[in-house]
């Protein structure tokens, strides 16, 4: 989701010499310290493509550890098809072109059977051609803007209809919100999500005057003006809420400013799509009591499977305070689906596994069973949680059942007739009106 464009752009504005050497040094810094050991033939290699340095390391390092943990657990159970799984970790260093290079390296040199990786949409877009060309499998674990369905990619994070829309519904019904601030970081995920939300709100009869859209640059740290604007917008006599697609680091100063300026959740609640347990670990959450987040998983969900997962995860990382979060659960589901698909076709051949995956079911950590759909998205429950004083969330609402992920949003003009169907139609953007494969995104 996060593209650290500002740094890139800013680097360019400095002397040219710097820009030229930037690539060089980054390249050096990124060359992986995790060179794979010469593997024997009796292992199956699993690629892990998450940034371990640079701006995205804050989020992605945990996901690398998650896959290592899952592989470890699977190997304890005897591996897959009688072979042990062997992780191959590379570090794309939060550098988008390097993602493509490292993906190529994983597939051609290390000959991995599957890759778990990427966080930002731009990194996913950067590796897409590589996965298509070399025909391999990518599991993408993060909530994203949708409008995509590719044969080689399996999206285990939430599509907008599995996170944003239910959250807005909750605010409309439970909090009777009439006025909306859509605040986001300025890049593709918030812009697309807000476009979808704006269309959705208007279809529910919200007037243009009651919607305020605001974008900020990456790493924005001075929120005084925007928080004051939100306060002003909220004093129009109608219940107001903020829908935040603010990403990554910028959230901490944003919430601090909210707390300091005394905006309480009872007055103007903020519902966030990118703030989870991990992000809250860096702030004192007492002033944030009652602000909301929408996810498909919360660490605080009390069911035995989740409790067992948390206990084993903390034991594996040797850190009793280590938190779990939504993208980790997505990897948990995706990993188990891949294992099941491989065992079903008794092969790791990407073509066979890709064909076997739709229809595969795997338990999620919230008490349900998620299913891989023909559009390569999965079914997930949606939870709304309120921030508690201890940095965890208290679930205050959930969807009655599992929600199927839409690859193409039903709210947008250009995509409402499109579906992804890799089983029947063998097409990622099938137009149900014209009955043709192709359209937007082809």
């Amino acid at each position: 989701m996060l593209t650290q464009l500002t740094h890139g752009i800013a680097t360019m504005t400095r002397r040219r010499a710097l820009a030229a050497t930037a690539g060089l040094v980054l390249g050096l810094a990124a060359s992986s310290p995790f060179a794979p050991a010469q593997a024997a033939d009796d292992t199956i290699k699993v690629g892990i493509l998450h940034s371990l340095s640079g701006t995205m390391a804050i989020s992605e390092t945990t996901l690398k550890d998650t896959i290592l943990f899952l592989i470890d657990e699977q190997n304890k159970k005897g591996g897959v098809l009688g072979k042990k799984l062997e992780p191959v970790v590379v570090d794309p260093a939060s550098n988008w072109p390097l993602f493509a290079e490292k993906a190529r390296e994983l597939i051609t040199k290390d000959k991995v059977a599957v890759v778990f990786g990427c966080w930002t949409s731009v990194s996913r877009k950067s590796v897409l051609p590589v996965f298509k060309e070399l025909n391999n499998i990518l599991f993408y674990p993060v909530q994203y803007e949708g409008e995509e369905s590719e044969r080689n990619v399996f999206y285990t994070g939430a599509a907008p209809n599995q996170q944003a829309i239910p959250a807005v519904d909750y605010l409309m019904k439970e909090e009777k919100v009439k006025r909306w601030v859509l605040a986001g970081t300025d890049y593709v995920y918030p812009r697309t999500t807000n476009k979808i939300l704006e269309a959705y709100l208007k279809s529910k009869g919200v007037a243009q005057d009651d919607i305020m859209i605001n974008y900020t640059p990456f790493g924005h740290s001075d929120w005084q003006t925007i928080v004051a604007d939100i306060k002003k917008f909220g004093s129009a006599g109608k219940k107001t809420a903020v829908v935040s697609t603010i990403n990554g680091d910028a959230n901490v100063p944003f919430y601090k400013e909210l707390g300091n300026q005394g905006i309480k959740a009872t007055d103007i609640p903020v519902v966030a799509f990118s703030v989870g347990e991990e992000e809250l670990a860096g702030i004192d959450t007492k002033p944030l009591l009652g602000h909301l987040a929408a996810w498909n998983y919360f660490e605080s969900i009390k069911i035995p499977a989740n409790e067992k997962f948390i206990k084993e995860w903390q034991a594996y990382t040797k850190n009793p305070k280590r938190v779990t979060n939504d993208p980790m659960e997505a990897h948990y589901i995706g990993f188990n689906m891949w294992v099941k698909a491989v065992e079903k076709v008794k092969s790791t051949d990407p073509d066979k596994v890709i064909d076997a995956l739709p229809g595969i079911e795997a338990p999620n950590l919230t008490g349900g069973t998620s299913k891989m759909l023909p559009n390569h998205h999965i079914t997930k429950p949606v939870f709304i949680g309120e921030i508690k004083g201890n940095g965890q969330f208290d679930v205050v609402w959930k969807t009655p059942g599992l929600v199927a992920g839409d690859a193409w949003s039903k709210e947008l003009e250009g995509s409402k007739d499109l579906i992804g169907d890799w089983v029947g139609k063998k097409c990622g953007n099938y137009n149900t009106k014209t009955n043709k494969c192709g359209g937007q995104g082809s």
């Binding site: 439970e174 974008y215 001075d222």
Partner: protein
Amino acid sequence: MFANCIDRFRALCLSILLLSCLAVPALASPFEDSVAKFANDEFSDTEAAIGEVAASGNALASPIISALQDGRLSADPDSKKVFVTQTDGKIVDATTGAAVDKVPDNAAAVRLNNRLRRTVEAALGGLTLLSPDPAKRLAAAQSVFKSHEENLLPTVEGALAKESVKPIKQAFAEARAAIILFKSDASDSDKLDAVAVVKARGDQEALALLTGLGDQPPLVAKAAASAVSSIQSNLAMWSMVQNAWYGLSLGSVLLLAAIGLAITFGVMGVINMAHGEMVMLGAYTTFVVQEVIRTRYPTLFDYSLLIAVPLAFLVAGFIGVLIERTIIRFLYGRPLETLLATWGLSLVLQQAVRTAFGPTNREVGNPSWMSGAFELGQITITYNRLWILCFTLAVFAILLAMLRYTALGLEMRAVTQNRRMAASMGIATSRVDALTFGLGSGIAGIAGVALSQIDNVSPNLGQSYIIDSFMVVVFGGVGNLWGTLVGAFTLGIANKFLEPVAGAVLGKIAILVLIILFIQKRPRGLFALKGRAVEA
């Protein structure tokens, strides 16, 4: 008191009635039934319980509901018993007020959501209107202003008549006005008076109240509309003041981040790309200090920043000297190599911190004197920003005094103005170089302490400031501390006046473009150094 008496009277009648009917004794009272609903862990039951408890008139109602608000109310789902943990740590049974040794293990705090929190606030507002504590009365009056519960009107009027403290009396009058405005059967003249009271309040909440009025008699609607427009124009004027304040605040952050660079880059001419990492090291020093204080001496927490400032200066300064001695001194006069070396160094430092402290953000708390805000007219001034502004100006003044009045400052100026002459006068130039670089780095470390209060403490902290810092120093004029000061505040204020108009993203771009144009016109910045030093 008044309402309480009536309710008590009612309760008395009821109990006499019960007794006279010879009802079975030891029946659970309705109050107990109400309180027991807290144990059901259902939001709807909790809401019902709040309403019933608040209306019961029981003396325990207010402590129960304020405990609920603070998360001090816990309930045992099995025995349906509810407990209040008092602020002094003692635990009592919610229904009887009897002391209890400890809360049962399976009891959990009663959960709230936002809707219930509003209900609690409103209920508490009604219950504490007559509280002996003036702060509570004020809070109650304000929450009634927001909730404008019609049935609280007699209580508010009673409180208004009795109140002697002026600001609280004002708050009661405003609360009364809010209720009357929303009361359907109030007379027009009462409502017009109420509009005037709310108009006099003149803040955003008054605006919210007046715009949310709904259908009103024509006369009142007209008065309300004119009040709204007058409040709006007043607020628009205040928003200019607010922008200026935000600009000063942003300027102070820019200045703080740039001051160290004004020394290493401005005075020494070293293009120090690792400057941001010195800021980061200062922030991490604050984290470590707070961590030690939290585990060992929790009472000292409010002083943690005071302890962190000198330590951050020493840590960052020491590393600065180390860098100068081991790398930079070999590269004087070779700007490109210096740039590359320090940039590589910044990556090394980031990764080192990432390995030592982990990639995730670290929590640095705000001491109590840096949390919250106060109202000045119609603008909100947050304490942390105010303190950072004061702190920045203090650091700037100390630095200026140091350069002007101390021996080291004199030597620094001598070396940067004419190195060879200074050397022949017996100044150990290489020692002065190391100390100057150490000073610049140390000040960056101090900046880190302050920035840890408003930003993330993560390995990337420095990156977000390095560009802004260079911008400020170049714009202000290389080699001139006053230029850095003026440059930082100019950029801060310009940015904050552009932001509401152009948005944060475009505002930032516009500032960059303006600086580029400015540099075309005046390549040496706002305050160019004149004389021989320029050629050196």
